[in-house]
Amino acid sequence: MEKILTKKSFPAWVKKLQSYTVYSPEKQENLWSYEVIQNPDKLNLEHLNTVLAPKKITYPQREIFLQFNTSKEGKPQIKEVLPEEHPAVIFGVRPCDAKAITLTDKVFGEEPKDPYYWSRRNQTILVGLTCNPPPSPNCFCLSVGGSPHSKEGLDILMTDMGDKYHIDSLTKKGEKLIKAAENLFKPASSKDKKELEKIQRESEKKIKREVKDIKNIPDKLKDMFESPFWDEEAMSCIRCGICTYLCPTCFCFDITDELTSTLPLKGKRVRTWDTCQFPDFTMHSSGHNPRPDKASRLRQRMLHKFQYHVENYQDYLCTGCGRCISLCPMGIDIIEILNKVREHE
């Protein structure tokens, strides 16, 4: 169901959503970041790529699993901690980031479903925004099966049409949001729809970067496991966590116990993000590390995204947001690597 909402009345709509925690991109100094919106009048959807994808809301960097409390005699008491239920709306979600959430949905949706992830996810409504212009010079969503106006994973897709937004409600959740302030919306005219198509066509043209015939990449990679190629490509890697922590699709984690008291022994078990780029990610307690060097770690990142995940989920573990390219301190460029893979003999 397509509707039109004037930019003027956009805040009014958001104000109607008190029952939700509302997130939206917010500019802090030079950076864009998804934050809880206190004042809807300040909403600004002209954002470039946020440093962290909305993943930070649906899959926070730190999740408490349980609390434990031991005593010398008797067995320890354990209390599971689930994120408290609070419905949330995220505005300004870029189609690539929404697509990314559908990917993590699949992973955490495997049986047994991850209760922590889903208790958040089920509560979250994603309101997307068509990318026009692209939010990053390194966008390449088209190459990985996405588009600047892809609806995948979104409950609503908004498109900026100058003084108004085209609102495309895609799910029941989305309907519910619009219902909250129905009178603010008017149906989209056929003229609007025409204009929308134009905008969407143009937005695609604006995506400049591309991975050439990506379809062959997975097979290509299969034969490159032992290739010295990775040593070359990884030379300038400094084994930091930027590419993976900022990636909207990376979902690897670590589980540790954090003590709050040592006598008696009390604490929490928490899940935190982890990354295959840290050397200790695969370190065995024996001291053996199956991925001893930067090359094997870069290879892992590439193969996971463009071979293993494709094998397991028939989809790339990459949505072309370009964050890893824009923020790699050493200029490692996933597109260039893939294009080199393509030419690799």
Binding site: S71, K72, T260, S261, T262, L263, P264, L265
Partner: protein, 649 residues
């Protein structure tokens, strides 16, 4: 893996129990997963108390113990022995100080109890991670080395030898005796210096346990306490002491005359010479620096006349290596350099002498056979001016410190001068008189009253020669008037300095020096004869200006310290020393920089600990950026747990 720790809380009568609920402390600690047993008792240090600990160690088969009681300084040893007696390693026993640091300083019983719990638990956390350690045992080479053959060195050597230990005594000049042998009489008793010293010198030369190396210098000391190695250079004397009959023939024929060090240049000596008649060893030395040459063609007169053929031009320097267990440094002093004392015309006017030169003039065996005569014209000086604090107590220009002995020997000089020249007049310029010491003050008074020495409180402004006299301008601050004395002779009480070359030597031995270049002791009050390097001790003026009795006393002190080491065949060293985790160490060497004991070194780019030298201060561990080095049984992880316990977390 869990430990079985026992916690024993002492009431110390009411000293602890009065302010701390000891039962409650014991109960609280029982909650700790590593605590297998805890109890309280009225006096843990009493025999029944110790028995109680021993028994419960056995009964509950504990592997570690915390005793909550008084300061570890008091009963740590007691309880560690007690733990040992019960069959567990002594280093598995730690003391929680809940008396000095808790019950005695607080009033509020509740809060004091809470604190006592924290302190005790903190100690439990430590003990839980304690390792069983064995003291490091170091075999001892039971020989001593004394460096310097002055009175201090002689005394130290004799004391050590007489207590049955072999001693190597090294003296750089041809004879032992040092400065004392140059003195005429000694204050305050005026007994003849040589008469009291020569017997000791002879004793040294005859002592079966003393190996005397004169005309020798220690070049290098390596190793550590109990196991030093000394490299000693024995310079050739070109005379075989066993053959030499002291016939003096060689002296008569030797064409070379140089100033005689022993008489401080007041007389001359030949290139082949004996320093002084009573020299030990009693033999001649050929001073190669001044000899025309060791080739018969160059001169060779002495070798021709030497009946017994004692002279051997082919004698070579030899390096002697000695293994020793402990070392006494007695490198002595020299007088403040002439060069610095130009304002007093010293070195410029023949009749301006320093204290030691005057001693020679007074000495019966001296250049004038004990008559006081002016070096310039051999006339008897009728007016003699003695100036004190020449170079001493003068922070701006010279030495800030007081040379200590000058007040006394100046009084002695003035007095002896009067004994030699009853109709002469002696003046003494002084800043103030420091005569602390047995019979010292009386001695000074005697000089003033009986011998009529005129003491003028003030400084000398100028000294210059004027028609055969030495005019001294000074001021008498008491009378408040300027003084001019036309003296026949001026004697300067020049400052005492560390012996020349002592500095380089100290560097070789890695002993630290104070700002004035004297050896600095481990602790100014409590360890006055020890250096910070264990096994190395100080005696005599090398450490600070001293008079003879003090030097002798310190020498005996140093000797007994040295003997303490030699008296055991093994030394035991605390095993709480640094330990390196090689897989973490990057070999940056910061720990090596900070170690005050040179216990750390780099080997194949990794830090290496010499456990014998390490004192376990842990400065290395705080300096290391990668926590690659820690001190056993007080490791970062232990502190980490102790912090938890101490904040009550």
């Amino acid at each position: 893996m869990k430990k079985r720790t026992g916690v024993f809380v002492c009431h110390c009568g009411i000293n602890i129990a009065g302010t701390v609920d000891v039962k409650n402390v014991a109960e609280e600690l029982m909650k700790h997963s590593d605590v297998a047993h805890s109890e309280d008792y009225v006096y843990m240090c009493s025999d029944p108390g110790q028995k109680l600990i021993e028994n419960s160690i056995k009964e509950h088969n504990l592997d570690s113990v915390v005793v909550s009681c008084c300061s570890p300084n008091l009963h740590e040893t007691t309880f560690r022995n007690c733990a040992k007696a019960a069959g567990i390693n002594e280093f598995q026993c730690e003391i929680a100080n809940i008396r000095e640091q808790c019950s005695w300083v607080h009033k509020d019983k509740l809060k004091a109890t809470e604190k006592a719990k924290k302190i005790t638990r903190s100690t439990v956390e430590r003990v839980v991670k304690n390792k069983s350690l064995e003291p490091i045992s170091i075999p001892v080479t039971r020989r001593g080395l004394v460096i310097g053959g002055g009175i201090a060195g002689i005394q130290a050597a004799l004391d050590m030898a007489n207590s049955g230990y072999e001693v190597v005594l090294v003296e750089k000049s041809p004879s032992i005796g040092g400065h004392m042998i140059q003195l005429s009489e000694t204050f305050p008793t005026l007994d003849c210096s040589q008469c009291i010293l020569t017997p000791k010198m002879v004793e040294v030369s005859k002592h079966p346990k003393i190996k005397l190396l004169t005309y020798s210098e220690v070049q290098e000391i390596t190793g550590y306490v109990g196991n030093f190695k000394a490299k000693i250079l024995k310079k050739p004397t070109y005379v075989d002491p066993d053959k030499c009959t002291l016939c003096d023939e060689c002296i008569d024929v030797c064409p070379i005359v140089v100033p005689n060090e022993f008489d401080l240049g007041l007389t001359g000596r030949k290139a082949i010479y004996i320093p002084f008649p009573q020299a030990i060893p009693a033999t001649f030395t050929l001073d190669i620096a001044n000899c025309p040459g060791l080739l018969p063609i160059a001169c060779g007169k002495c070798i021709d006349v030497c009946e017994p053929g004692a002279i051997d031009y082919d004698m070579k320097p030899e390096i002697i290596e000695e293994e020793i267990g402990s070392i006494v440094l007695a490198t002595g002093y020299d007088l403040y350099d002439k060069e610095n004392m130009k304002e007093y015309g010293y070195g410029k006017y023949a009749d301006v002498l320093d204290g030691l030169q005057f001693e020679r003039l007074l000495s019966a065996s001296g250049p004038t056979m004990g008559e006081v005569l002016r070096p310039s014209d051999h006339k008897v000086p009728k007016e003699v001016v003695f100036i004190q604090c020449v170079g001493s107590r003068d922070p701006e220009l010279h030495c800030a410190y007081c040379s200590k002995i000058c007040c006394m020997y100046t009084a002695k000089h003035a007095m002896l001068y009067k004994h030699h020249v009853p109709d002469g007049q002696a003046y003494v310029f002084y800043i103030d008189i420091r005569s602390g010491g047995k019979d010292y003050e009386e001695f000074v008074q005697r000089a003033k009253e009986e011998d009529g020495v005129v003491y003028l409180r003030g400084k000398v402004s100028k000294i210059f020669e004027e028609n055969g006299k030495i005019t001294v301008w000074g001021v008498d601050t008491l009378a408040g008037k300027d003084i001019e004395i036309n003296a026949d002779m001026v004697v300067l009480a020049t400052a005492m300095r560390p012996a020349k070359g002592a500095e380089e030597f100290a560097k070789k031995l890695k002993v630290s020096l104070d700002k004035d270049g004297f050896l600095s002791e481990a602790h100014p009050k409590l360890r006055p004869v020890e250096s910070v390097t264990s096994g190395l001790f100080f005696a005599g003026a090398a450490q600070a200006p001293k008079d003879i009795p003090e030097a002798v006393a310190q020498a005996s002190g140093a000797a007994s310290k040295a003997i303490i080491i030699l008296s055991q065949d093994h030394l035991f060293h605390s095993p709480m020393v640094a330990k390196v985790s090689l897989n973490l160490c990057t070999g940056c060497g910061m720990c090596v920089d900070v170690c005050p004991y040179d216990a750390l070194s780099l080997k194949d780019n990794k830090a290496e600990v010499n456990e014998v030298l390490c004192e376990g201060c842990g400065t290395c561990s705080a300096t290391c950026l990668r926590a690659a080095i820690e001190v056993k049984n007080i490791t970062p992880v232990q502190i980490y747990e102790m912090i938890d316990a101490s904040v009550g977390g």
